[in-house]
C-alpha cells in the first residue's frame, strides 16, 4: 500500500508530468484539504451518501420481500425467476437515461439508479439463501406445529441471513457505480458530479479526490459487511474451517 502511494507520487512528479492527465498524491491531498475546508466536499458527500443510503435501503427491503416470495411460492417463482435472471444479466446502467427522464435532475434519479442496480443481487441472494435451507431444519420446526409464517420467520429467514448479507456486499459495489452514473449526468451536486465537472475543467486533483472518497466508502462498507457476516453466522465459518 505504502509502495503504491510512493509510486503514485513519483510518477505524478517525474513521469506523467502533464497536469491535464495526472496529479501526484501531494496535489490530490492539498485539493482534498481545500475542498474540505470550504465545505464543498462535505456537501457532495452528503448528497451522494444520502442517495446511496436511501436507494440501498429501499432495494434491501424490496429485494428481501420479493426474493422471499419467489423462494416460498413455487408458482410465483416459476413466473418471476426467468424475468429476474434476464434483468440481472442485463447491463441495467443502460436504463439510467430513462430514469433521469422520469425522476428529473437531482437526487431522486440517482436513488432510482442505485435501487435498480442494488436490488437484484439482494433479491437473488435472498431466494438462493431461503432455497438452500436444510430440509431437516424445516422438519424440526414442523414437528413443533410451527405455522408457515413462523417457519419463515424463525427458520428460513435466519438460515438465509448470511446469503442476504453477502447480497448486500455485492450490492454496495454496484450501488457506488450507480451513484457515479446517476450524478454524472443527472445531478447538480454529489461526488459523481464533482468527478465529472473536475474532469471537464481539467482539475485533475479534484477529480481524484472524488474517486478516492468513493473508493474509500466502498472499502469501508465491504469491510463492515464482512465483519457483520462473520458475526451473524459463526457456524458457517466453522464449517468452512472444518
Amino acid at each position: 500500500m505504502a509502495l503504491v502511494l510512493i509510486a503514485w507520487e513519483l510518477i505524478g512528479r517525474y513521469v506523467l508530468t502533464s497536469k491535464l492527465m495526472f496529479a501526484p498524491l501531494s496535489a490530490v491531498l492539498a485539493e482534498f484539504a481545500k475542498l474540505w475546508g470550504t465545505g464543498e466536499l462535505e456537501r457532495h458527500m452528503l448528497v451522494s451518501f444520502t442517495a446511496l443510503g436511501v436507494g440501498f435501503a429501499i432495494a434491501a427491503v424490496i429485494g428481501i420481500a420479493i426474493g422471499s416470495l419467489i423462494a416460498t411460492s413455487e408458482t410465483i417463482g416459476d413466473y418471476v425467476d426467468p424475468v429476474i435472471n434476464a434483468l440481472y444479466s442485463t447491463p441495467l446502467v443502460a436504463f439510467s437515461p430513462i430514469l433521469i427522464l422520469v425522476f428529473g435532475i437531482g437526487p431522486a434519479s440517482t436513488m432510482a439508479i442505485v435501487f435498480l442496480l442494488v436490488v437484484f443481487p439482494i433479491l437473488i441472494n435472498t431466494t438462493a439463501g431461503i432455497r438452500s435451507t436444510d430440509a431437516s431444519l424445516i422438519e424440526a420446526a414442523l414437528s413443533f406445529s410451527a405455522s408457515k409464517f413462523e417457519i419463515f420467520r424463525r427458520v428460513l429467514l435466519p438460515s438465509a441471513l448470511p446469503f442476504i448479507v453477502a447480497g448486500f456486499r455485492l450490492g454496495i459495489g454496484r450501488g457506488l457505480v450507480a451513484v457515479f452514473i446517476g450524478e454524472l449526468t443527472g445531478a447538480r451536486e454529489g461526488l459523481g458530479y464533482l468527478i465529472s465537472v473536475s474532469g471537464q475543467t481539467f482539475n485533475v486533483p479534484a477529480m481524484f479526490v472524488g474517486v478516492l472518497v468513493l473508493a474509500a466508502a466502498g472499502i469501508l462498507c465491504v469491510a463492515l459487511l464482512e465483519y457483520v457476516e462473520a458475526k451473524i453466522a459463526p457456524w458457517r465459518h466453522f464449517e468452512l474451517k472444518a
Binding site: 431444519l137 414437528s143 406445529s145 424463525r154 427458520v155 435466519p158 457456524w235
Partner: protein, 264 residues
C-alpha cells in the same frame, strides 16, 4: 395399563416417478401403553423412520389411522415430541434458544419458558452450555439438546429416530443410561427407532421387529428384564437370549432383502 397410542392398519405408498407405487408400510397395527418404552428395529429400508414420521403427523399415511388417547392424529401436535437423528438443531440458536423454540411457537410467557428450558438443561446435564451454539458442542451434547428440545413442550409421547446412531460406542452407552434416567424422571411414552439390537433390548419394555419390503410387523417381543437396568445386564444370559432371538428374526430379513436387491 392405559392405552396411549394406537395405530390401525397403517399403510404407506410412495409414488416413484412413472413406475408403480412403492409400498413402504403395510397394515401396521399396534398398541402402546402410557409410560411404556417401545423400540422398533428392522433391516434398513423397512420403513421404520417413515412409520415414526407418520406417528408424529409429519407424513400422512396412505391408509389407516393413528390414535393418541383415542384422538385421531392429523399432523404434528403438542402431545408429541420428535427427536431427530442428527443435525436438525438450528445453528443460529444457542442451546437455550433451541430448547426454547417449541415454547416460543406456543407463545408461552418468556420467563416461564426460560425457567422450563433451564430445568431441562439441568436434566440433560448441559449446565454451563446454555449460550453455546451447536457447532461448539460435541455430538453427544448435541443429542442432549435435541432431547431437551423435544421435552420442552412436555409431550406425552416421545418419538425418537435413531438418536444415538451417529455417536461413538461409549457416548452411545452413556446416552442410553441418560435416556433411561430422563424417561424414569418424566414418565413419557417412548417410541424409539434404532438399528442397534442391544440398544433396543436394553432400553425397552417391548421390541417391535419389522419385516422389510413392505414394512410390516414380524413380531413383538416383550423384554421382561427387571428395572432399573445397568450395563452389567448386557452380559446376563436372559439379555443375550433376547438379542439372539431378535437377531435371528432380522437375519432372515437382511438376507431376504439383499437377495431381493441382487435380483433387481
Amino acid at each position: 395399563m392405559r392405552l396411549k397410542l394406537e395405530t390401525r392398519q397403517i399403510c404407506k405408498e410412495f409414488l416413484g416417478g412413472n413406475s408403480k407405487p412403492l409400498s413402504v408400510l403395510s397394515n401396521i397395527s399396534m398398541q402402546i401403553y402410557a409410560s411404556e418404552f417401545v423400540s422398533i428395529v428392522g433391516a434398513s429400508g423397512c420403513g421404520k423412520t417413515t412409520f415414526l414420521r407418520i406417528l408424529d403427523g409429519l407424513i400422512t399415511p396412505s391408509a389407516g389411522e393413528v390414535l393418541i388417547d383415542g384422538q385421531k392424529v392429523n399432523g404434528p401436535g403438542p402431545n408429541r415430541g420428535f427427536v431427530f437423528q442428527k443435525d436438525s438443531l438450528w445453528p443460529w440458536r444457542t442451546t437455550m434458544g433451541n430448547i426454547l423454540f417449541g415454547l416460543q411457537i406456543q407463545r408461552r410467557p418468556r420467563a416461564e419458558a426460560r425457567a422450563i428450558a433451564q430445568q431441562l438443561i439441568e436434566l440433560v446435564g448441559l449446565r454451563g452450555f446454555e449460550s453455546h451454539y451447536p457447532h461448539q458442542l460435541s455430538g453427544g451434547m448435541r443429542q442432549r439438546v435435541n432431547l431437551a428440545r423435544a421435552l420442552a413442550i412436555d409431550p406425552e409421547v416421545l418419538l425418537m429416530d435413531e438418536p444415538f446412531a451417529s455417536l461413538d460406542a461409549q457416548t452411545r452407552e452413556v446416552m442410553q443410561l441418560e435416556l433411561i434416567r430422563v424417561w424414569t424422571d418424566r414418565r413419557k411414552t417412548v417410541v424409539f427407532v434404532t438399528h442397534q439390537i442391544d440398544e433396543a433390548v436394553f432400553l425397552s419394555d417391548r421390541v417391535v421387529v419389522l419385516a422389510a419390503r413392505p414394512g410390516r410387523i414380524k413380531e413383538i417381543i416383550p423384554i421382561d428384564l427387571p428395572r432399573p437396568r445397568r450395563f452389567a445386564i448386557k452380559r446376563t444370559p436372559e439379555f443375550v437370549a433376547h438379542v439372539d432371538k431378535i437377531w435371528t428374526l432380522l437375519e432372515e430379513e437382511v438376507f431376504g432383502s439383499s437377495g431381493a436387491q441382487r435380483r433387481s
